[in-house]
């Protein structure tokens, strides 16, 4: 039978990659759970609260986005809007060109992955440098991140050592400490040579205009100590109402992402450097990127925009663990990516619509989501949409349900089928011309037919009660 792209990718994955992902994802699940249960009597109540707060932010995004713009401008930052990823790229290029720099340092930003920013900058003769260690390895390998928090979850230390060796960063050495020291030493001069540094934003406060950037490595901080110009690239959905919301959102984001109570660095940047400060950006540009988000906010898919990019859903997802982030063919992997990917795709919904099938609908992603996104419900809606819009590749290998639908909607027919169901045991099912059915039977045996018993039991029991 024809299989879906994700299944094919997963079946061809190297065993070491699968093992690396499984170990990385499992440890993420354990650390998150340990911190949340140790710190909170009822973490679920906090998740629901944070979910409502994020949904409120989205439902009033017009107001809060305008508020953030106003405050940032008052603080001396320049605010830009980009309707599309292509427009966001143009704005970045204009700023970088105007700065006269060649070297550009970059912190991890999923929004920047949407425009493939590093490759685009490099193709125009600039020297972009991914400064997050994991993203740096991704850049050396001309690869893509396979997890939104742990970009090289799919690589072993041996892979990284080979990448460093190949890139002229010393002889083969797979000791993680040596690898880290070499990266440190390589990047220090770059931080100081770069005229522009680019970050994403974990949140933007409409009240103060502050852009919040969370890291452990200190790369965003160093970037903003070295460069004269700071560009923030943020999806419009990152705006939250007030500074007072940050303690709740940061507490849940960080615990869910890494199991820490706080990361080594939490930066709250309101504008260009203080006049008395000798180092750091004199110019700050904030680019608010739409790229299909504005269409989502008023739709029944809006809850996916609550996402604060912690990665907990992918860590807990059985499909992600068996297929890796690259199997999702886009910027955002895992359950949140299966929803957001098709909705944000520049080429339209159809391109990644099959990702809605990359789920068992087990609900683990919803259980761990710090902002209470009902991901399985959203996935089910996307499946419905792919059927409605007849996206053929999205429904490959999915059994035709029209016969079941007919039977289930007609009680008499249902009763008849229930009484005749045992005949199925005599049919050569494996030879039926239903590809999905054959694939199912490749790995499973049908249990003995027991249909119709409940109705018989109910009839008898009702009769018994009437006789009493």
């Amino acid at each position: 039978m024809s299989r879906q792209a994700l299944d094919i990718f997963a079946s061809e994955l190297d065993a070491t990659v699968l093992q690396a992902i499984d170990i990385g994802a499992r440890s993420g699940v354990e650390k998150r759970l340990a911190t949340l249960t140790q710190d909170y009597e009822d973490p679920d109540a906090l998740r629901r609260l944070a979910g409502q707060l994020r949904q409120h932010s989205l439902d009033h995004l017009d107001e809060y986005l305008a508020g953030a713009e106003r405050r940032l401008e008052e603080n001396g930052a320049q605010v830009h809007f980009a309707a599309t990823t292509a427009r966001a790229l143009e704005i970045v290029l204009d700023i970088v060109r105007a700065s006269g720099t060649r070297v550009v340092t970059k912190s991890k930003s999923m929004a920047s992955e949407e425009l493939d920013l590093s490759r685009e900058l490099a193709s125009r003769g600039f020297e972009p440098l991914e400064t997050d260690l994991g993203e740096f390895v991704v850049q050396l390998d001309d690869d893509h991140p396979s997890h939104i928090v742990k970009p090289i979850i799919h690589k072993t230390r041996h892979d990284v050592a080979r990448s460093f060796e190949r890139s002229g960063l010393g002889d083969y050495n797979d000791d993680p400490e040596t690898i880290t020291r070499r990266a440190r030493s390589f990047m220090r001069d770059k931080f100081l040579a770069a005229g522009v540094t680019i970050t994403g934003a974990n949140f933007v406060s409409a009240e103060s205009g502050r852009v919040v950037v969370v890291t452990n490595e200190g790369n965003a901080r160093f970037g903003q100590a070295g460069a004269d110009v700071h560009i923030v690239l943020a999806g419009i959905e990152k705006v939250i109402p007030r500074d007072r919301d940050l303690a709740l959102l940061l507490s849940l984001l960080i615990r869910s992402a890494t199991g820490q109570r706080i990361t080594s660095y939490v930066e709250l940047i309101g504008g260009p450097r203080h006049p008395a400060q000798p180092s750091g950006p004199r110019e700050m540009h904030v680019i608010f990127m739409d790229a299909n988000r504005s269409d989502i906010v008023g739709s029944d898919m809006a809850p996916i925009l609550r996402c604060i990019r912690c990665g907990a859903c992918m860590n807990s997802c059985p499909v992600y663990r068996e297929s890796s982030g690259h199997a999702y063919r886009g910027v955002y992997p895992g359950p949140m990516g299966a929803v957001l990917g098709p909705l944000l795709a520049d080429e339209g919904f159809g391109k990644l619509a099959d990702l809605a099938r990359a789920s068992t609908l087990c609900g683990a992603c919803h259980d761990v989501c710090p902002v209470d996104i009902p991901i399985p419900d959203l996935i089910a809606r996307l499946r419905e949409r792919s059927v409605r819009e007849k996206v053929k590749h999205a429904n490959q290998g999915v059994p035709p349900m029209s016969v079941y639908s007919l039977v289930a909607r007609h009680p008499r027919l249902w009763r008849l089928v229930m009484s005749l169901g045992h005949l199925m045991e005599r049919l050569p099912l494996a030879r039926l011309p239903i590809a999905a059915g054959r694939a199912w039977l490749d790995h499973r045996t049908l249990p003995r037919w027991r249909g119709g018993r409940f109705r018989r039991w109910l009839r008898r029991s009702e009769k018994g009660r009437a006789d009493d």
Binding site: G24, L49, F81, E177, A247, S264, V266, E267, G270, G298
Partner: protein, 211 residues
């Protein structure tokens, strides 16, 4: 650009107008996510929390000076307004520069700057741009020493985040720079300091408000 702004806002408006109702702002205290056992402020708890984040604490200038001496460091950066106070306690063999030369970042084995406040809940140091003499001095050297008046403590993260003021860059530093990107193994000192320290400095305040 203006065109893009209009596009984004008009699409947003059209999209939001489709909503039958808009979710209200939830009612919650700002410190709702402070764990019950982390609400207590105070200096002694702060000391424990600094230890939790692997931030080395020096209670006085002399102990910082001794430690730097034992570390065999040769030179470092120091906030010009602190140099005169710290110099007598730091071994004379150690050079203190009050200017960070960005052409020679590796010349500085440590950096000493001011912290504006501390946060007890998370063991964090709050570095505000206006109080930090040079961002590079706080991030580039292997050792960073943040000088904090221990009277300036916020009990909770929420207390700190609701009092950010108008400083353009407020940085919460909770321990040293670290990564677990390679096979989840924790390594200190990626780009920022591999060792984070805090020096309690009440001296200036005592002089001002002395008996």
């Amino acid at each position: 650009m203006t065109n893009d702004r209009e596009k984004v806002f008009s699409r947003l408006k059209a999209s939001l107008d489709r909503l039958p109702a808009r979710t209200p702002y939830p009612d919650f205290p700002a410190d709702v996510a402070t764990p019950a056992d982390r609400r207590e402020g105070g200096l002694s708890v702060f000391r424990q929390r600094l230890a939790e984040t692997s931030t080395r604490l020096f209670e006085d200038i002399a102990s910082l000076g001794r430690w730097l001496g034992e570390r065999n460091v040769l030179s470092g950066y120091c906030d010009p307004s602190l140099a005169a106070i710290l110099r007598p306690a730091i071994p004379p063999s150690i050079r203190l520069s009050t200017n960070f030369d960005r052409q020679r970042p590796d010349d500085y084995q440590f950096g000493i700057t001011r912290a504006s406040a501390g946060i007890v809940e998370t063991g964090s140091l709050v570095l505000k741009d206006r109080d930090t003499s040079d961002r590079l001095g706080a991030v580039a050297p292997w050792i960073h020493v943040a000088c904090l008046d221990p009277g300036n403590l916020y009990a909770t993260l929420a207390d700190a985040l609701t009092d950010l003021g108008d400083d353009p860059a407020v940085i919460l530093v909770s321990g040293h720079s670290q990564t677990a990107d390679v096979e989840g193994i924790m390594i200190h000192g990626v780009h920022g300091p591999g060792e984070q320290a805090c020096l309690f400095m009440q001296a200036e305040k005592k002089t001002e408000n002395g008996p």
